[in-house]
């Protein structure tokens, strides 16, 4: 029985164990890897991906998908920096950036909920939206890099020091609380696990789904603003392929892509683990392009293991019923 338990743990957390192994190897090779400063540095790097991944987790638990987050990250940065350069109050500039994200999220939500789209449809619609929003982000500066004229203040402090980490962790804790302890969060799980039953039991499915996308858009734009504040400039193509990192964080954390099951805290863990992995690979001298190959396979393996596990469990259950009966 004990042996079976060990096998279960390995099966359910296979990827995390492999990455832990990588961390151990790296820390043996490079002494500076497991220092407090380096880990803080990693946490700072993953905080933007993490903020966006929290919103994506809501979307996925609610049975949908948002591929447009990468472009929203670019667009909100462009809008905020342009407004600040034009002399707008920095709080208003941040608000404009956030509003752009919410607006795109609401459009996504209306489009997808009006066709009762599941993950597949949401995937393609938001893919189209990704292209559209990426193009909009290119318009103001013709695709050029914009440097910000930023004086010290609230906006500048958002991306400096431990602020991104604080924003990321507070946000994640709040969102986990909402997911687990509030009616809204329970509705989200219900809608994600069975859309039609949720509809028949009187939940306003359309409205709730629109809010999932709006939250995803909001957090994507917040991520974009934090990123902008860190580098005090905006690049209209900074969010290119950003959604890949976000999705990797969510699925490595263990949120099911079929919806209805997941947790924000596990996404935080996924984001941190992927950040540490990237850092370890950098220390081992593996280039960004090689890491891209690893990241793509990681997404497939994470989801594949999950699906294989489910099939094995079903088989075991069938086996048990046969022998019990």
């Amino acid at each position: 029985m004990n042996q079976k338990k060990v096998i279960d743990i390995v099966r359910n957390n296979g990827i995390i164990l492999v990455i832990l192994l990588l961390i151990i190897i790296t820390s043996i090779i490079e002494r500076n890897f497991l220092t407090f400063n380096n880990l803080l540095n990693v946490l700072r790097q993953v905080s933007v991906v993490g903020i966006v991944a929290c919103g994506m987790t809501y979307c996925i638990i609610g049975g949908a998908f948002d591929l447009s987050v990468g472009s929203v990250v670019s667009l909100s940065g462009v809008i905020t920096i342009l407004s600040i350069n034009a002399g707008t109050n920095e709080y208003m500039a941040i608000l404009y950036g956030l509003l752009a994200g919410v607006a795109i999220g609401i459009v996504n939500g209306i489009l997808i909920s009006s066709i009762d789209g599941r993950t597949g449809e949401a995937f393609i619609v938001t893919y189209g939206m990704q292209v559209v929003v990426a193009a909009i982000a290119l318009f103001p500066s013709n695709g050029l890099f914009i440097s910000g004229r930023i004086s010290p203040g609230f906006f500048k402090s958002m991306g400096q020091g431990v602020m991104p980490i604080v924003i990321f962790l507070c946000l994640a804790a709040f969102m986990e609380f909402v997911l687990v302890k509030t009616k809204y969060g329970r509705k989200m799980v219900f809608i994600g696990s069975n859309l039609h039953v949720a509809k028949m039991s009187g939940i306003n499915v359309k409205f709730n789904r629109i809010t999932f996308f709006a939250i995803s858009g909001l957090l994507a734009s917040l991520g974009g603003i934090v990123l902008c504040s860190r580098v005090t400039s905006s690049n209209p193509t900074v969010g290119l392929n950003f959604e890949m990192d976000v999705i990797a964080a969510v699925v490595v954390g263990g949120t099911q892509l079929s919806g209805g099951k997941g947790s924000v805290l596990r996404t935080v863990m996924g984001a941190v683990i992927i950040g540490i992995m990237g850092n370890a690979l950098n220390i081992l001298g593996i280039t960004a392009y090689h890491q891209q190959i690893v990241k793509g396979l990681l997404i497939i393996v994470a989801v594949g293991m999950d699906i294989l596990n489910k099939q094995i469990k079903l088989r075991e259950m069938a086996h048990d019923t046969v022998f019990a009966g």
Binding site: E121, F123, I124, V131, V132, V251, Y289, I293, I299, I307
Partner: protein, 319 residues
């Protein structure tokens, strides 16, 4: 009165189904009358040559969509194939390069197909993952630099013309005919329709659904590789970012043509029209002086519109 109600519904459904095509045809007629340079022979030849490369992949994408799936990794297979083809042309000659690139594309497709059909991981996860990985591979191999080729045979093939038509539309025509025959007149082709129409029913009636799904992805891999090679023939170079918008283009063209994203219906002949309409649209936009980022914007908008219309039509038919 009672009779006319369903007719009215049918007309509305028909309008919704073909709204984008009707709009595009109207746009083309408008262009013919307003822009002289649009309807010249040179421009028509240009449109045909341009649309042929992506059209090759779009035909195979149609088959994948008929089987009820879709594939995002085609764009990366395309870029990787331009790289591999040029590299092999420089080292082992064009015949070897052709077969190696084709086999490699089919292998990538088979990898997708195995994971989707056998392990049953959702297609969007698998193809998203392979899209990133294959692109990364192409960057790693080329160190992100474009590669030129000096292969004489390749240049000769690239410069070969019948009239004004280069070799690429001829290959495209062969691919169209092959897929058309395959889907309509072979048992395996009909199996793909059955698999996409109703997976469970197809499986219970003895169709090898796993093999069908596996094969459609393999074919798309090979077709994307072929399209990549044709691109290599045309511009005599290979680079990882080539063909980034291929998947988007193929999915849009397929749905504009009238193949539903739901699977189980449609055909390659419809997609040919979709490809042509899109090619004409972007050619016209270029002639009108619309900027690159604006064209990108329109491209995304067209995709969203056709998906939404397709979904609305499906919903109406169900009711």
């Amino acid at each position: 009165m009672i009779q006319s109600l369903p007719d009215k519904k049918k007309i509305v459904t028909f309008m919704l189904e073909n709204a984008v095509s009707v709009f595009l045809v109207g746009f083309i007629i408008f262009m013919v009358f307003t822009k002289r340079s649009f309807s010249t022979w040179d421009n028509i030849v240009n449109i045909i040559n341009e649309s042929s490369i992506y059209g090759i992949a779009a035909c195979a994408m149609t088959v994948v969509i008929i089987s009820g799936e879709f594939d995002l990794s085609a764009s990366s297979v395309f870029g990787w194939s331009t790289v591999l083809f040029t590299l092999c042309c420089n080292t082992i000659g064009i015949v070897g390069a052709f077969f190696i690139t084709l086999a490699c594309g089919a292998l990538f497709g088979a990898f997708n197909g195995y994971l989707v059909a056998k392990i049953r991981i959702p297609a969007f996860v698998v193809t998203l993952g392979t899209m990133i990985s294959i692109k990364g591979l192409a960057y790693v191999v080329t160190k992100a630099q474009p590669i030129n080729t000096t292969n004489a045979t390749l240049r000769a093939i690239g410069n070969f013309h019948i009239g004004d038509i280069s070799i690429i539309p001829i290959v495209y025509l062969a691919v169209i005919l092959l897929f058309f025959w395959f889907l309509r007149y072979t048992k395996f082709g009909r199996d793909i329709y059955a698999t996409g129409g109703n997976y469970e029913v197809a499986r219970l009636s003895g169709i090898n659904v796993v093999f069908s799904k596996f094969m459609v992805f393999t074919m798309l891999g090979a077709a994307a590789a072929l399209a990549g090679m044709m691109y290599g023939v045309r511009i005599k170079a290979g680079w990882a970012p080539y063909g980034q918008d291929l998947s988007l283009y193929c999915i849009t063209a397929t749905i504009i043509g009238g193949t539903s994203l739901l699977g189980g219906n449609g055909g390659v002949h419809k997609t040919v029209i979709g490809v042509l309409l899109l090619a004409v649209l972007f050619n016209a936009l270029t002639l009108l002086g619309v900027s690159g980022s604006m064209q990108k914007f329109i491209r995304g908008l067209v995709l969203i519109t056709v998906i939404m219309l397709d979904a609305v039509v499906v919903k109406r038919q169900r009711e």
